[in-house]
């Protein structure tokens, strides 16, 4: 691995700027910012798609957009939010926080980290280019066979979706390999596994879920792509040749259900950091929360068929998956009680990150309860494919994941920028979000139970859906306003926010021990030695152990050199994959660039 050796103080002054320095950066903190702003941009694109959906549904028989455009909107809304907004936003936090929390100078493989980001960016752009070619994916985010077959989807829309997801899968996998290795192998001296912050733990569990779940969707997408090959198509989902469309559903949900936990566990990790800090006491039942997270990770593999209760798997299969699904509610409930127990008797500081963490708990409980409702096959049969499920998924992914991520943004903003976000605007953001998200998603429970099907571009008058849909649309518009308040706060606070000290909130974990905010490029001049859980809260007192990151350990600090080969490699790979749709004219040059760049990357001077 390429390294430069610099005397520590001199290195601090050596911070680079300019566009090229961002293209070649291998610093985990800069890559985190790239991830963050890219994910935020995609989040607003996905939000725009949601607004178009809500406007089309604002009254019965609306004709704002065609049925075909509507199909593309809900497909791309879900795909964008899951793969281009929420997951990469979590990865932005992994990138910024994990090396700091474990007392490391960077991730284990800084260039691989850069590669992950660039693959994500190019994959996201590639998938959205489909709009320009008027071939936006329109088969739903879980792309059920046989709708995705060449017969029923003759254009390249499904190809864009399948290839785009393959490319994004590479980014997720490379990132997950990197974070598992980083957490296992780069912990500061004395930082044993049961002293790891919960966010680090949840990142580890999430990363294991990614490396085991993504290969399954990769295989499913490979089959789909081969089925769509012409002239020599395979028969994986071709019913005429004996193929079984239900196989797609199994493969998709064997990936898809762990994916749900990939989305929620990082947010659970974040609020497990936020709640203790603002309650002024350690997390209640640390070990229980950690083991519950691991248990959820395991159990996440045994519940996939609860997405398929209406397929007709038979009583035995349905019973097994119903019980497993109910079982998984237990560790989730354990966590909720631990969070409440953390606040119990604490000296609570009600600032914005804490508000969002409490918002997470309350909204996630609603989403969790509707989840338990459709763990029962007879109830699910009623709710399947209705807006009730849409309500559930938005309570867990917006009320859960998104609120957790926003809590994280307000919480770690002072570490990233050296400034606090504005508290007044933060409160406005929080209350607007709470009112608008409930106004948007709560009525969907009712429209769903009344029988309003999801993914249908309109509805008839007199079905009783009008009021609920008007409420949802009004809520969505208000939600957009709350996000603009957030955006304003974010941009304003970067330049004008109140200056924050290094440990901005009196946090307990190592990221708050860096000498400055933002931390120096090498994070810690001297790697800290850890002897307890919540090390910064145990520095003083009789058994106190000072966390010392100043001075020097007598050797230079080794930091990796910047490199542009990961970016070229990612670009080459994306173009090569695009060649699967557009032929060898793209595939061959892309492949050559990919191989050449990867070799240059691998052969960059060793340390």
């Amino acid at each position: 691995m390429a390294t430069t050796v610099a005397a520590a103080p001199a290195h601090a002054a050596h911070s680079q700027s300019g566009l090229w320095s961002w293209v070649t950066t291998v610093d985990h903190k800069r890559i985190a910012l790239l991830y963050f702003f890219t994910a935020l941009a995609f989040f607003f694109i996905g939000g725009l798609e949601a607004l178009i959906i809500r406007l089309q549904l604002s009254h019965a028989g609306a004709t704002l957009i065609s049925a075909q455009t509507y199909n593309a909107m809900f497909t791309m809304h879900a795909t964008t939010m899951i793969f281009l907004a929420l997951m990469p936003m979590s990865v932005a936090f992994f990138n910024y926080i994990i090396p700091l929390q474990i007392g490391a100078r960077d991730v284990a493989f800084p260039r691989l980290n850069a590669f992950s980001y660039w693959v994500f960016l190019f994959g996201g752009i590639f998938m959205n280019l489909s709009f320009l070619m008027k071939m936006a994916p329109d088969g739903g985010w879980y792309g059920y066979a046989t709708l995705t077959s060449k017969t029923f989807s003759p254009t390249h829309s499904i190809d864009f979706w399948a290839v785009g997801l393959q490319v994004l899968g590479v980014a997720s996998l490379a990132g997950a390999f990197n974070f598992i290795t980083t957490i296992i192998n780069l912990r500061a001296p004395g930082l044993t596994f049961m002293r790891l912050p919960v966010f680090t733990w949840m990142t580890l569990v999430t990363s294991f879920l990614i490396i085991l779940a993504f290969p399954v969707i990769t295989v499913a997408l490979i089959m789909l792509m081969f089925d769509r090959l012409s002239p020599a198509a395979t028969n994986f989902f071709n019913v005429a040749a004996g193929g079984d469309p239900v196989l797609w559903q199994h493969l998709f949900w064997v990936f898809g259900h762990p994916e749900v936990y990939i989305l929620i566990l990082p947010a659970m990790g974040i609020i497990s950091e936020v709640l203790p800090t603002f309650s002024g006491k350690p997390l209640f039942g640390y070990a229980f929360v950690v083991y519950s997270g691991i248990f959820i990770g395991f159990m996440g593999w045994g519940v996939w068929s609860h997405h398929m209760f209406t397929v007709g798997l038979g009583p035995l299969g349905d019973t097994f998956f119903a019980l497993a699904t109910m079982l998984i509610a237990i560790p989730t409930g354990v966590k909720i009680f631990n969070w409440i127990g953390t606040m119990w008797g604490g000296s609570i500081r009600l600032v914005t990150p804490m508000w969002f963490a409490i918002g997470f708990i309350s909204m996630f409980i609603i989403g969790g309860l509707s989840g338990i409702m459709h763990s029962s096959p007879p109830a699910d049969t009623q709710q399947n494919d209705t807006y009730f499920v849409v309500a559930h998924i938005h309570y867990v992914l917006f009320g859960g994941t998104m609120l957790g991520l926003i809590a994280g943004i307000y919480y770690w903003f002072p570490k990233v920028t050296g400034r606090y976000m504005n508290e007044t605007l933060g409160q406005w953001h929080f209350w607007l979000t709470m009112i608008s998200m409930n106004l948007t998603f709560f009525p969907m429970h009712f429209s769903g139970l009344l029988g309003m099907p999801r993914r249908v571009y309109t509805y008839q008058k007199g079905m009783g859906f009008e009021l609920y849909n008007q409420m949802s649309t009004a809520g969505a518009l208000l939600l957009a306003v709350s996000l603009l308040v957030f955006l304003h706060n974010l941009i304003r606070s970067i330049r004008k926010g109140e200056v924050a000290p290094s440990n901005a909130w009196n946090g307990a974990t190592l990221e708050w021990a860096t000498a400055t905010s933002p931390p120096p490029e090498f994070n810690f001049q001297k790697l800290p030695t850890v002897k307890t859980l919540d090390p910064l809260w145990h520095q003083d007192g009789p058994k106190g152990h000072k966390i010392d990151v100043g001075g020097t350990d007598g050797h230079g600090i080794h930091m990796p050199n910047p490199s542009y080969w990961p970016m070229f490699s990612a670009f080459g790979m994306t173009v090569m994959m695009a060649g699967l749709i557009f032929g060898l004219a793209l595939g061959v040059p892309g492949g050559l660039l990919f191989v050449y760049s990867t070799y240059r990357w691998a052969l960059e001077p060793a340390s």
């Binding site: 296992i184 192998n185 196989l247 350990d553 340390s607």
Partner: protein, 206 residues
């Protein structure tokens, strides 16, 4: 640096092999590679499961028992297994600092891998000639995609082995770079093990 930190911690292990401090004492590259292999298990697991689910559901032939050539594939499986032996010898060579032997066994491993791929190309050609293609039936789809992916993995391994082979001449791979060979070996043995599973489940247990 690592010694100083270990001294400060009192107990932390020290790693000599790539001169970076790590918590486990293992090289990060090796840990990353093991996680990669875990991921690959799910990839091949899904492909093999699909093959098994669709076995015997074909509406038209050729069926597996009519076309699979066990003696021929036993030979190619033997060739691939032997390449694991030569891979071990290549690693032993570089661990002892014997670069001549390292080169010899790296090249031998790569050539055995190429022979395996050659057998596969012959087999695929033969099957197409017999009327089994990707589109013929479920057997054709599942068989070609599964074994094709395995063959592609072997091909990547062959390219990797030749790369290491040539790098021993440029000085980039020299005595002391055991880890570069060891990780390639991990990949190679994994691809071998996958073949044992495929050979057993597809060829032997028809």
């Amino acid at each position: 640096m690592s010694e100083a930190i270990a001294a400060a911690a009192g107990s932390a292990p020290v790693v000599p092999d790539d001169h970076h401090y790590t918590s486990t004492g293992q090289s990060s590259r090796k840990i990353l590679f093991w996680t990669f292999i875990g991921s690959e298990c799910m990839l091949f697991g899904s492909l093999i499961a699909t093959y098994l689910i669709y076995r015997g559901r074909d509406k038209v032939g050729p069926h597996p028992h009519e076309i699979l050539n066990i003696p021929l594939t036993s030979v190619s499986a033997f060739v691939l297994l032997m390449s694991s032996l030569t891979m071990v010898l290549a690693l032993a060579g570089i661990q002892r600092g014997e670069m001549g032997k390292t080169r010899l066994w790296l090249a031998a491993t790569a050539i055995l891998g190429m022979m395996f791929v050659g057998f596969q190309i012959y087999e695929f050609n033969h099957f197409v000639h017999e009327g089994l293609t990707l589109s013929t039936n479920l057997f054709g789809s599942t068989f070609f995609v599964l074994t094709g992916f395995h063959g592609a993995h072997v091909t990547v391994g062959v390219v990797w082995l030749w790369t290491l082979f040539f790098l021993t001449f440029t000085g980039r791979i020299k005595a002391g770079n055991d880890l570069d060979v060891e990780i390639c070996g991990l990949y190679w043995h994994f691809v071998d093990v996958v073949w044992i599973a495929i050979f057993t489940l597809i060829y032997l247990l028809q």
